[in-house]
């Protein structure tokens, strides 16, 4: 019978000794009381007021949710899962509709069972000029790996006419034998390195032949043709405003009705393409033409790094953008676009969103 006692003791020990207790803190019980304000002062004396009915975008590993602040400028949210969140707020200026008030709170750790009370102070963003507004490079839904219907869309968010003469559009994906990553200031000389493609508008900076009107969208097509003839799920870019044309390539497609951006690199005989879901693109004023030494960061009007896996590292210099844009899947037919035309807070992770289908020439 001693044997049975031993068995019983082992059994009891096991039953009570090996049971695991659940975590004490229950998920889904995080709370946020967000105070959205902006400084409406016109002088050096702050005049902080609530930001009413502002759009609030809550981003985390679980995706994005959109809310609005109340008339008191507060947004109260309960039952949030624990995660690291980013919050961006956006509202139109109450007096000048051309001014957008934007703000952001990054790396906000919302913990279940606790209430987090961030204050997001919005700042006016207006007339910043030319920005990349939409990028479509994922390719249409297809099974023949058709990737040629790419386009970039520029937007002039200023109130003045800009001129495209001599401006440059770049793909930045080169590395220095793996030592340096694209989009960085490798030699600490204020220049962005890693330029693989560089195309330019006709003319030179300072000339005034190619106006870019306020609040205008410009579509720069890889090939300005109706791509639906090749793949039915693709798009029509035959009416694009500009077309990338590589004059050093034997037979690049050229729509005679669409003006061209031309290749600045004689050593590059390939078609203008950008990564389907991972790349850096930039637009520069064109004052620095020595691309092989890097392009002056001060001359870059806008730059965006997009990646499907945003857990991968960011390469682009912080002075150009402080975030990575979440890119859609390859061959998904989706594009990325700024949430508000031309709105550039210098943080791509907050400014951009994925569109289920591209919208060339419009928001």
């Amino acid at each position: 019978m001693n044997f049975l006692k031993i068995i019983s003791l082992i059994l009891i020990f096991y039953l009570y000794g090996c049971m695991q207790n659940p975590p004490v803190v229950q998920d889904g019980n995080g709370s946020v009381v967000l105070k959205a304000v902006w400084d409406k002062s016109l002088d050096s004396i702050p005049d902080i007021v609530p930001l009413q009915n502002a759009q609030v975008i809550l981003s985390s590993q679980y995706g994005m949710q959109v809310f609005y602040t109340g008339s008191d400028g507060f947004l109260r949210l309960n039952h949030l899962p624990s995660a690291i969140y980013s919050i961006s707020i956006k509202a139109h200026h109450p007096v000048d509709a051309s001014i957008i008030l934007v703000g952001a709170v990054r790396n906000l750790n919302i913990v279940s069972g606790q209430t987090t009370t961030p204050t997001d102070t919005a700042k006016p963003v207006s007339s910043t000029g030319i920005a990349i507004n939409e990028i479509y490079s994922a390719g249409p839904v297809n099974n023949i790996f058709y990737i040629y219907d790419l386009f970039l869309e520029l937007y002039n968010s200023s109130d003045s006419i800009k001129f495209l003469d001599g401006m440059q559009v770049m793909r930045v994906s080169g590395t220095d034998n793996g030592l340096y990553k694209p989009g960085g200031d490798w030699y600490h000389n204020g220049k962005m390195q890693g330029i693989t493609y560089i195309y330019k508008f006709p003319g030179r900076p300072g000339e005034r032949n190619f106006p870019f009107n306020p609040k205008q969208f410009l579509v720069l097509a890889g090939d300005a043709i109706d791509h639906r003839k090749a793949v039915s799920t693709s798009i029509d870019l035959s009416h694009a405003d500009w077309e990338f044309y590589n004059q050093y390539m034997a037979a690049d497609i050229d729509n005679p009705n669409v003006p061209n951006l031309i290749n600045m690199r004689p050593d590059n005989g390939t078609k203008f393409l950008i990564g389907l879901n991972d790349d850096i693109v930039a637009v520069a004023s064109g004052v620095d033409t020595s691309w092989n030494e890097g392009i002056d960061i001060s001359s870059i009007l806008d730059a965006v790094q997009y990646r499907a896996d945003i857990n991968l590292p960011k390469y682009i210099d912080d002075r150009l953008d402080r975030g990575i844009v979440q890119a859609p899947a390859r061959y998904s037919g989706k594009s990325i676009q700024r949430k508000e035309p031309g709105m550039d807070t210098n943080d791509g992770s907050l400014d951009w969103e994925i569109l289920s289908s591209p919208t060339p020439g419009r928001q």
């Binding site: 659940p22 975590p23 229950q26 998920d27 889904g28 899962p81 896996d309 991968l312 590292p313 899947a329």
Partner: protein, 486 residues
Amino acid sequence: MKMKFIFTVLFLGFFFPTFFSQSLRTMSMAGITIPLKDVDNSCDPYDFGGNISYLYLDETTSWLKINPSLNTNWGDYKRPYDANNVNLYGINFTGLKTLSTAGTFIGSVSYIYDSRINVNRSVKYNTYQGDPFFINDTTSGNIHYNGPAVNFGYSFELLSDLYFGASVGYKILNGFKEIYSQTSTVLRDVDGSLGLTYKLFNSAYLSAGFSTYNSQEKLTIELADPVDDEIYNYHGDTYFITQIGNPISEKIKEVGYSWNSQFYLNPDKNSEAGLNFVYSNSDQKVLLNKSVNGNSLLDVEDGYSYFNEYLVEFKGRYDLTPDLTVGLKGSWLYNSCWSSSQSFLVWDWNTKTAGAGIGASYNISPFLLLSLEYNYSHVNADSSKYIDDHFTTVYSNDHIIRIGGEYEIFNKIFLRAGGGYGFIGKDIIYGGSNIKYFLTTFGLGFNLFESFSIDFLLDYNNYKPKQLDYSHSLFDGLITLKLFNI
């Protein structure tokens, strides 16, 4: 957890027939188990509790069983990520060899083909186990699994009146989703058990057993073409993490332990009683490959689930007269499981199921046996889906009555049939209320020859919520060819 228990029994006990499968004879008679006497339906630690150590005492002759099987289930009364239709085709060979005083050996080899038609989004093998970690893509598609399973067991008398047994099993399944994500699955399962039985006195035995299993489901979402997949790792019903890439790989690892103990009393040929106690726990991890700051991290834990289960059951049978046998059964099952992610409690489930059953079988004539069984169960379930802010408490009173019979139409040729009708107050598996349950079975047995017998089974089950025009049906077809004295 009740779901998990039911599906575990369903898959391991039926479609991968192990050593403890119920005989086709009783299954053909509406699945009646309480009052029916059968060589595979006694109250002993092997038949009732699955304790391998009692095999030596339970089986006294050598045999080989060949079991081809077909199971299919379909219907629109289903859960969001279920398949429209599941077809399982299996073949199982089980051989038992008695080695006199040296012991008894049993071995089985199975192969199944598991075809799931129009699985809605889920790419997991066991989508509903009571954990909140669903792994989905964006499409409905067919998933086909196939693979072998082997089991070996051995039991012998270790010391006087002390019997020892051990078994091991190995199963591997390969699966593939035909469209979109083209997820390929490798499911590997290793299990083992040890048992001891001690003869307390002439008519009483006490057994104890330990079993463990280790399983891994590896999902590889890799497209041959340079396109991306999108996979959604759900944490609960609402929130999910999106993974975009090619390839994407994930693993689900599960380790489980189980202690069991049986007491068996068999004072004479006219009566027997068994008590079975099982405690089991298991944990399951969902592991992802992630990259952080450019460094690839393998097997990062995305979710953790812990399952606990207690089962106490009793079954007794007594011959009131040479022709009338009555039986009684009682059970209590407690399941508790919780799931967490990043040290936060995501879901918490508890179910308590108390069951009781009573039955009688009567030999109306030397050629006709009739049997009746009634089962009642009461289920209490508490579900706390913290992350979804959804809390429910349900209880259900379930009643099932079965009637079955066996008629010897010719010498040693048996016709078997049965039917059942039940009412389930609240179906905690599929979510419906006031479920009507209907069962019909049909079987044939040919015991014409000295060297072999053949049994056939067809059964049909249907579940239908009272207020809905949906139903779920199951159909099984099985054959057992049993060769004796091999």
